[in-house]
Symmetry: C2
Subunit: 247 residues, 2 copies
């Protein structure tokens, strides 16, 4: 069998304006639910490994099961939840190995972002990142964790944005969401020594960026994320203490 499908519709507008990536979601109900449910899950409102109760969520969102289930399938494809046959959806429990893998993929994506950013970034954008860097340094000096954390995140997002690659940006956001969920439940306390290291690395990043040294920046970013991974896993290794052990 080759093609039961005739050439129903021919290409429409061949060149759509290249402004969006994939989200026409906002309009339809299932899209709305998808966005809300994803946030709900990422923010850690349902504990790890717990089942995702269709019925209650339907009531909570005031919709029927159909659009909710559609959203669940997408979330499963994104890796946030998992679908067990005839047993519904559960929040995906990430093993230590899963986290290592995720961090490495994030490192790869940022490394790529740095490389691409070197080709396209403007001096103004670099200046903006430098500003963020100085802000972050201030937070570092004042031991302001949340401020530091936010500035840090903005820097990395700026680099990804400077890569001028919407596909990369979308993938990056997706993986970041998976990790963020873990961050929400177990909120990392950054160790002092790590801070100093991270600051030094960030200076190196800025330096390479200014010189548009693509390969070098790629390397530094990868190593930087690798160190983050080490810090995160180190922290997670400490006993979770609210996770009941199997009986």
């Amino acid at each position: 069998m080759k093609s039961t499908i005739p050439d129903t519709g021919v290409p429409i507008g061949p060149s759509n304006g290249g402004e969006r990536q994939d989200n026409r979601h906002e309009a339809s109900l299932h899209g709305e639910i998808l966005l809300r449910l994803r946030d709900y899950v990422v923010e850690g409102n349902i504990p790890d490994g717990a089942r995702v109760p269709e019925r209650q969520l339907c009531e909570m969102f005031g919709i029927s099961r159909t659009p909710l289930r559609e959203a669940l399938k997408v979330l499963a494809a994104e890796g946030l939840i998992e679908l067990l046959p005839n047993r519904g959806a559960r929040i995906r429990q990430l093993s230590q190995r899963d986290l290592e893998e995720l961090f490495d993929v994030m490192a790869g994506l940022e490394s790529l972002a740095g490389r691409l950013a070197c080709e396209a970034i403007t001096d103004d954008e670099i200046a903006a990142i430098e500003q963020l860097h100085y802000d972050m340094y201030g937070y570092y000096l004042h031991r302001d964790m949340p401020g530091y954390f936010q500035a840090n995140q903005r820097i990395h997002e700026s680099i990804v944005a400077a890569a001028r690659n919407e596909t990369l940006k979308t993938a990056y956001a997706s993986f970041a969401g998976r990790i963020r969920r873990v961050r929400y439940s177990a909120n990392f306390a950054r160790k002092r020594r790590r801070w100093a290291e991270a600051m030094r690395e960030h200076e190196a990043i800025l330096d390479a960026l200014r010189r548009r040294a693509a390969s070098e920046l790629s390397d530094i970013l990868f190593q930087h994320l690798r160190n983050k991974r080490a810090a995160a896993l180190e922290h997670l290794a400490e006993p979770p203490e609210d996770t009941p052990a199997a009986p």
Copy 2:
């Protein structure tokens, strides 16, 4: 509002065997449909930009609309199709820019794979890749495009496999699918000069792999894919001749 959701189910088996990534799909009907429909789309059975006819696909698969629509949502999330509000699904038409972005992301992922592979690859695996390399060289000498192409793909897959990162592997496969769809419709004829280049690059890849030179391999792989991108786009730049211009 914090949590309408009580701790319904507590974590089940905390440590599932780490063998699978996300696919419990095989069992449920929607999962079956998802796999089949994805292949159907990737293989190019529906022309670019054409609408995806729910009704006919339902008949073709012998199912109702519900599981099919669930599969469509996932495919949309994967970027293979796009969903227009109240207008159903269409095969996503990739612009030249989209392709550039995709190739770059693939380059980034392979670059990452190379880096990680250096940490974990065994001598046997390297030997297997070397074998593929020699096979490929044979195809190259005999101007055997399909053979060359397949060996080439296997080499890259082997590198990704050697990275020991299922998350990466899954992401890689997903992006590869998007590109493959384009390959199916416009099948690339490799230019002679490109072949020689590619062979040289592959030798460099093998060399770096043998020395476990992570950064170097990362660089080479990125450049290698960048060149592939150039070749592919060059080819696509030739007039499509069956794409009707907007009236």
